[in-house]
Symmetry: C2
């Protein structure tokens, strides 16, 4: 069963801020840069603690606190992938997946305003229903349909793959 | 002249994080809950320090640091509105205004997932080109056009007006 955050933390409860503003309420859940980076990794298909830590470059303590809060807010859920020892993966709930349009909008803005003009996009998408590049934004520039995560196929740019691979190697190096 | 953040803080510079990821880069600018609330006020037409402080409920120190960073990141600019003593208003730049789709997506998600089901929306919009309620999201549910800030007319709900009025009175009370 999907648990809406509002069922256990309405704005009038002591748990949440006393406001009707959806922006302020949303920021109680996602108003932290590390939390957003954790969600990014989950959207990219990274589900395990170490892999998320590697790519966000957060400390284990920071990771643990963000994952715990995301779980209690209803954004993610833990699923066991190993029994002995018991190990969990982290997966987005329906509430978490519903956050995707914010990511698309944030990606569009970040690609446009926070990067040198000639640097290519980090992730190339293909809009599966029309087979074309949906462009930046929340709507496909080719077919005009609102973009959904499950209808996008992602290819990381060579340099972004290299950046992530480098972090992986650095992390492994630190573990030895 | 519009100053893109990238011109003074490319990802490879020491000022920014060493990444190609637009989400991580964007979070360097807006990855802080108070910063987002300041931007919300600017989008709502509040341009003066005290008015923004009243509605975000931040301390003057928090406000000052966020406004300073937003200005140095190219999101806002100061405009004098009084000469003696010299006083400034804060206005969104083109880079700041371009952040609006993220707000629309965040609003949609917050209204849907962070509030009790029966609580109405905080702000009712009318999509000026079609004259109808654009619904939640970044595209008008009626005419299918991508929503732009200047094509939306906003009406705050009675209870949201009351909430904001209450904060105003509380702030004035504290100043006496």
């Amino acid at each position: 069963m999907i648990k809406k955050m509002s069922q256990n933390a309405s704005p009038s409860s002591s748990a949440g801020p006393n406001t009707l503003c959806p922006i302020a309420l949303a920021q109680e859940v996602v108003g932290d840069r590390w939390t957003v980076l954790v969600l990014r990794e989950l959207f990219l298909g990274n589900h395990r603690f170490e892999d998320i830590q590697t790519q966000t470059q957060a400390t284990p303590q920071m990771m643990a606190s963000r994952l715990k809060k995301l779980e209690s807010d209803g954004m993610i859920e833990r699923r066991p992938y190993n029994q002995r020892p018991l190990r969990y993966e982290y997966h987005l709930t329906e509430m978490g997946i519903a956050f995707y349009p914010v990511f698309l909008a944030l990606r569009a803005w970040g690609e446009t305003w926070c990067k040198p003009r000639k640097q290519g996009v980090a992730i190339h998408y293909t809009h599966i229903p029309c087979g074309k590049n949906p462009g930046l934004g929340t709507v496909c520039q080719e077919c005009g349909v609102v973009l959904r995560r499950e209808e996008l196929s992602a290819t990381l740019s060579k340099s972004f793959v290299a950046e992530r691979q480098k972090r992986k190697e650095a992390f492994k190096g630190n573990q030895v």
